[in-house]
């Protein structure tokens, strides 16, 4: 596994503004290595062709939504180890529970703060380090 600051993130969101915000925040908290995908289908293709360490994904997206992407990642032997942090405006309890049951590593509801993103990413990182 890469060292924390070298870890490669994939940011998945259909809004480029949000991708840039997440990317900017990750940079501020020490993670400079990130790429972007505009929906789940594009993300899945990138994940199959390039090595990533961490996925930050929206849920409500065209073509393939975040739940479908999460399911595809967890079904794929070569990808299922990847932590997937959901960052979404979906605030229904059933969606939050579903994400957790489907294997999401964390759930952030929009609008969020830099402190929230940092806390969730660090928490997931600590679990990864402990498991390594």
């Amino acid at each position: 596994m890469s060292t924390p600051t070298d870890m490669k993130f994939l940011i998945v969101d259909d809004f480029s503004t949000m991708r840039r915000i997440v990317r900017g925040l990750l940079k501020e908290i020490g993670y400079n290595n990130a790429e972007e995908a505009e929906d789940g289908a594009v993300a899945l293709n990138m994940l199959k062709n390039t090595k990533f360490d961490f996925v930050v994904s929206d849920i409500n997206m065209p073509n393939m939504n975040g739940f479908e992407l999460l399911a595809a990642i967890k079904k794929d032997e070569s990808l299922k180890h990847l932590p997937v942090l959901m960052v979404t405006a979906e605030a229904r309890k059933e969606d939050i529970v579903r994400a957790a049951q489907d294997g999401a590593a964390g759930y952030i509801v929009k609008p969020f703060t830099k402190a929230t993103l940092e806390e969730k990413v660090q928490k997931i990182m600590q679990k990864l380090m402990a498991a390594a």
Binding site: D13, F15, T17, M18, R20, I21, G24, L25, E28, I59, N60, P62, N65, A89, E90, A91, R92, K93, E94, D95, I96, V97, A100, Y107, I108, V109, K110, P111, F112, T113, K114, T116
Partner: protein
């Protein structure tokens, strides 16, 4: 509905000098006929759903107005504060340059240079925070974009129902002409809609949604995640 059927909508013949009760009954009869006909045409349920969603569309548009207003306010406040910090650094830099030119040894020995360095560091940290706030304020684009998409979907549903009503009520000789005109409209209206709900625009009184990140964390913790 075809034109030949329209006779069913004709009211019972009114007699001159009919009493208000009779007129009222005839109006009631017409209303009932119209309602039943629309029901039979299958238009009414969809039209009703679209009409029922109009208040939701209003609250969604209010949410968009509120979010964009808040974002603009946040950005302008942050810009004001960052500009004030910037002005302060520029002023202190000019003063420091004058002090160094006048007596460089005194400027260093008196601690002015080190104070200035400390001030610059603190100011740039505050400016950096303002820039982060400006970046975060742009999240309104994502949130309002999702809400606008829902409103567009509702407008499409309403349009679709009205178009169907128009086609079914048109005279037979006009139907083909009408179809040619509305086909592009119908195609545009048939956009895919998401089953996901998007941002919660009115969380008050709802128990099926969370209001903030703390509630998300509590919910997940209660389930052992």
């Amino acid at each position: 509905m075809k034109m030949e059927d329209s006779t069913v909508l004709a009211p019972p013949p009114a007699t001159s000098g009919a009493s208000p009760e009779v007129v009222y009954q005839q109006l009631g009869h017409l209303t009932r006929l119209l309602h039943d006909t629309l029901e039979q045409l299958g238009v009414m349920p969809n039209l009703q759903i679209a009409a029922d969603n109009l208040p939701d569309a209003r609250s969604r548009l209010n949410y968009v107005a509120k979010k964009t207003g808040e974002a603009a306010e946040k950005v302008l406040n942050s810009v004001d504060q960052a500009k004030a910090e910037h002005e302060k650094i520029a002023r202190e830099t000019r003063e420091m340059a004058r002090a160094i030119i006048a007596d460089p040894v005194k400027a260093v020995a008196s601690g002015s240079v080190m104070n200035f360095v400390g001030d610059v560091e603190a100011s740039t940290a505050r400016i950096d925070q303002h820039l982060t706030d400006i970046m975060m304020a742009q999240d309104f684009h994502d949130l309002t974009g999702q809400v606008v998409a829902k409103v567009v979907s509702l407008a499409n549903d309403l349009e679709d129902s009205l178009v169907k009503l128009l086609v079914q009520a048109a005279p037979p000789d006009q139907t083909a002409k009408l179809m040619a005109h509305i086909a592009p409209v119908a195609a545009a209206a048939s956009v895919a809609t998401s089953e996901l709900s998007g941002p919660v625009v009115a969380p008050e009184g709802r128990t099926d949604v969370v209001a903030n990140q703390g509630e998300v964390d509590d919910l997940l913790a209660s389930l052992g995640f």
